[in-house]
Amino acid sequence: MTCLANFAGLFPGRQTPLRPVGPQALHIEHTLVLVFAITTIVYLIVMAVLTVGVVRARTKEPLPVPLTPDPSTERRASWAVGIALGITTLLLFIMLIDSFRTSHQTAVLAAQPAMKINVYGHMWWWEVEYPMDEEPYRMVRTANEIHIPVGAVVDIHGTSRDVIHSFWAPNIHGKKDLLPGYQNDLTLRVDEPGTWRGQCAEFCGLQHAHMAFDIVAQSRKDFDKWYVQQLTASAEPTTSEAAHGREVFLTHTCVMCHTVRGTSANSHVGPDLTHVASRSMIAAGTLKNNRGNLTGWVANAQSIKPGCRMPPNPMPASDLNDLITYLESLK
């Protein structure tokens, strides 16, 4: 069994259930490997018997019609069918018991005290909220990037702001549906530092395929540093370009949907941009966060994610340039 489980090592991906980095994903992976092994062996045996039967039927003389049953062959056939039925029932029970065991083991983590994170599914991005101690001034809001300390038990409170989405980071846990008007909880733990990718696993409209997120598991020290940094208001522009960029941001259409804490932009329709430059991806895991991609996204997001909620923003090149400079300064 362990030998079979090791084949997962062949796929060192950051979005696969075959490389578990948490206790629950480990249990799920064991069940996956067990079921895969049993069904593969059964499939191979069935195929082998079928092949032998076909080959023998072709080489042998055709049987005389009408058939006269031979009592000893009949008895042997009954035994064979009986044994096969018994093995099938046994295998199904093994898989059933293993599946029960896995559901239990993935659920026991929920009993432990945990750090809370609220995740809201939007068409087509993820809003992430850290309601630390339920104190408004300790609240951090970000998008598409969930930072957690390695080894900490984390309680994800998931819900949706529009249609049904599904939260799925295969390296860490199974899927959990995010439903509008209802809170679904998911408790997880990541034991290996790294960036693990997750995706929406419930078809939710045009850009369902471009709705990914990253779970960044880091040491407690790094996490605290990140959290304290996220708590601060947005950076004041230091150059004249960035200052003009902020002016463009505040006097243009951006303010209708986005928040930059520390300015008058305070809308929650789109992602919070207070520390947008600190995130590694933009557009829900679609593009790397660099100057070129950011410019393209702001200028015409519809050419990148057709149908997404971000409108095209035609503006003079100098304004766009300064706006991107400002956004890049929001570390």
Binding site: H252, T253, V255, M256, Q302, G307, P311
Partner: protein, 184 residues
């Protein structure tokens, strides 16, 4: 023969139904410009200007009207006008129209703002989105065909859906042209 004719008729019918489902994601650089000043009515200084074409395609696409409904919430129109019944701002689902019931009139109300509280959204909303909101506002009092008006809400329904509302008849529906002999 009969069957062929029937199939051909069905095909023609399917062609007719296309406009309702017409979706434009990228409206182009001109339409995506932030909305700015529009002509309000026929009364203007100097020679009359040729009136700009009113983009009625927004009133014909169920997608555009549904988008308008979303913006109505997202841009907080709902904060003052509620879901059409009015609160701080006037009701939008009745037959009373202070500044006119036409698509372009609603567009200019949103863009320019109006006395006693209606803020101007000039430079804050892309032009095509203003048209979508205006189209949705018209659907609130049943001015749009029921196959285009939204038939459901994302929140708990408290009023009849826009698509099943009876058509209100605003007073300016059969407005006389201001200059006799010149048709609007």
């Amino acid at each position: 023969m009969k069957r062929k004719t029937l199939l051909f008729c069905l095909f023609l019918l399917a062609l007719c139904a296309c406009k309702r489902e017409h979706r434009v994601f990228d409206p182009g650089a001109t339409a995506a410009q932030p909305a700015n000043g529009t002509v309000m009515n026929d009364v203007m200084a100097g020679a009359t200007q040729p009136s700009a074409a009113v983009p009625i395609q927004f009133e014909e696409s169920a997608y555009a009207v549904a988008e308008g409904k979303r913006f109505y919430q997202a841009y907080n129109c709902v904060g003052c006008h509620a879901n059409g019944g009015g609160a701080i701002g006037p009701a939008l689902m009745d037959s009373e129209w202070i500044y006119g019931s036409k698509l372009e009139q609603i567009h200019s109300v949103i863009v320019q703002g109006r006395p006693n509280g209606m803020p101007s959204f000039a430079n804050k909303i892309p032009d095509y989105q203003v048209w979508e909101i205006a189209a949705y506002v018209r659907s609130m009092s049943g001015q749009l065909p029921s196959d285009v008006a939204p038939s459901r809400s994302d929140h708990m329904p408290t009023v009849r859906s826009e698509s099943s509302r009876p058509k209100e008849h605003p007073a300016d529906e059969n407005q006389q042209p201001l200059v006799p002999g010149r048709s609007k």
